[in-house]
């Protein structure tokens, strides 16, 4: 068909798509879908970036807790700095620092009456074997309690995973709803234009010729929706950035999206939209066409 070359605005359909079901319906449905999914994707990327920052600050360090009154053992551990290949620094915390850490739980007054534990903050080099360092410290101080922050880390990771799971479930639901709606709209259009479709069929149009018109028309609506949805999402994201910036939030500066993530965010809704329009329209129309002799 020579018309195939005339893309979009100049494309003339054999079927009167401008009549009947509003051509904007598909645009609305797909626009909202793309908006929500792109937003969810952006939240998910931002979350990854925040947890990555937290994780980086927590990994690569150990806190060694020794019973009160063991200065010699504490000295041996702090001497690991410069001796142990995996340790970049080891520092015994001053009593006031330990007090500061415990005060919120025990109260200032109570803290004064305790004999405080000795804490050693051990920083590891990149790529250090945490297990080996823990084993070596245990050899020096068998009674020491060594905290590698694994619990705190795992709870951060768990929260992030739960949020991400929730966001992707929600996106999946939105996607499914959009697909079902678009298929429904295509079917409704088919029913409304059945007489024209039948005429095309009877004068020798192949199923593919007819399906192509529905696909093209649907694709046009979905693409417009996807572009508007992505634009709305970008607007919300930029607005959120400006708001948190003026609030001087401590989290916002940690959210940095890589160029690749921006590309994924902008391109994937369009690509997904094209794919969904194509497959959904094709399937819906093929099913309807089979009812013709």
């Amino acid at each position: 068909m020579t018309k195939k070359k005339r893309l979009f605005s100049a494309y003339k359909y054999d079927i009167a798509f401008s009549e009947g079901v509003s051509p904007h319906l598909v645009t609305w449905v797909s626009g909202l879908m793309v908006f929500f999914i792109a937003l969810a994707l952006a939240v998910s990327f931002a979350l990854t970036s925040v947890t990555k920052n937290w994780t980086q600050s927590l990994t690569g360090s150990l806190t060694v807790e020794l019973a009160p009154g063991a200065p010699a053992v504490a000295e041996k551990i702090s001497a690991l700095e410069g001796q142990h290949p995996d340790v970049s620094s080891a520092r015994v915390l001053a009593a006031t620092e330990v007090q500061g850490l415990l005060a919120p739980w025990l109260g200032d007054a109570a803290v004064g009456g305790f004999s405080l534990p000795v804490l050693v903050d051990v920083q590891l080099i990149d790529g250090a074997s945490v297990a080996r360092v823990k084993r070596d410290i245990a050899a020096i101080a068998p009674m020491a309690v060594i905290d590698d922050h694994a619990e705190a880390l795992s709870s951060v990771t768990t929260v992030a995973q739960v949020v991400r799971g929730f966001v992707s479930t929600l996106s999946g639901a939105v996607l499914l709803l959009a697909i079902v709606s678009i298929a429904g709209i295509v079917r409704a259009k088919f029913a409304i234009h059945r007489q024209e479709v039948e005429t095309l069929h009877l004068i020798g149009a192949s199923d593919e010729y007819i399906a192509r018109q529905f696909r093209h028309h649907t694709l046009r609506g979905v693409l417009l929706g996807a572009v508007l949805g992505v634009a709305a999402m970008a607007g919300v994201f930029i607005a959120a950035g400006m708001v948190t910036h003026t609030l001087n939030s401590t989290i916002w500066p940690q959210i940095q999206m890589l160029p690749l993530q921006w590309i994924v965010l902008l391109v994937s809704p369009l690509a997904a939209g094209c794919f969904i329009a194509h497959v959904t329209a094709q399937r819906a129309v093929t099913r309807e066409l089979e009812s013709l002799a």
Partner: protein, 228 residues
């Protein structure tokens, strides 16, 4: 070889009564037949079988030498493109101009746009619509719509041309003009079948008849001497 052969063809719509019973006839290439009979006799139903708009419930329909029961769905459109149909209600696309309506079968067949421009323009001029090419069907008179529908049916040079009551709601002069147009195509080799209840037209053009009564064929045209 016969262009069309019906052997003991029966038709019923879904679970309704049988509309056509044991219909058998053949159409030779280049023949011209009138399909006559009272209202409700099954003329339109028979034409639907003939232009592949409906499958028979029983019996064998052979078209262009092929048993239609053995033709796959994929191959049907190509066969339909060899059959031109003037529908009783025209079935024109109301949002397309007269030109685009007539061009439709060519566009479906993937004909080159330059060829389309030339042929469609010529044909519309020939049927007297040279100055109405860009008019929408709704703005045309019944007779003009009839001519657009006829032009769309013949633009692809079909081997078989089917017209269902082409003189239904138009005046005598236009009806005769349309029949002359079909005669002209027939002289160029197209096999024609025209369903009509217009006795005057049948009298005037003297082509052999297929007569349907209560879903049964009364005269077999293969036994009738061929006119034209």
């Amino acid at each position: 070889m016969a262009l069309v052969t019906f052997s003991n063809v029966g038709l019923r719509y879904s679970t309704g009564p049988e509309i056509l019973h044991d219909v058998s006839f053949t159409l030779q290439p280049g023949s011209f037949h009138f399909l006559t009979g009272p209202s409700g006799a099954g003329k339109t139903s028979l034409l639907k079988l003939l232009h592949l708009g409906q499958k028979p419930t029983r019996g064998i329909v052979t078209l262009f030498g092929q048993d239609m029961a053995r033709v796959s769905r994929r191959d049907m459109p190509a066969l339909r493109r060899q059959i031109g149909v003037v529908f009783q209600d025209f079935r024109l696309m109301n949002h397309l101009s007269a030109f685009d309506n007539v061009a439709l079968p060519l566009r479906i067949a993937g004909t080159d746009e330059a060829v389309i421009q030339k042929n469609v323009g010529e044909l519309l001029t020939w049927v007297g619509l040279g100055d109405k090419m860009h008019a929408r069907p709704v703005t045309l008179s019944g007779g003009e719509q009839q001519r657009v529908a006829t032009a769309r049916a013949v633009i692809g040079r079909p081997r078989l041309l089917i017209a269902d009551e082409p003189t239904g709601n138009i005046d005598r002069d236009t009806a005769i003009r349309i029949l002359h147009l079909l005669d002209e195509l027939n002289r160029h080799g197209t096999t024609v079948v025209v369903a009509t209840h217009d006795e005057a037209i049948v009298e005037r053009f003297r082509h052999p008849q297929l007569r349907l009564e209560g879903g049964t064929l009364k005269e077999e045209p293969s036994l009738t001497a061929q006119a034209a």
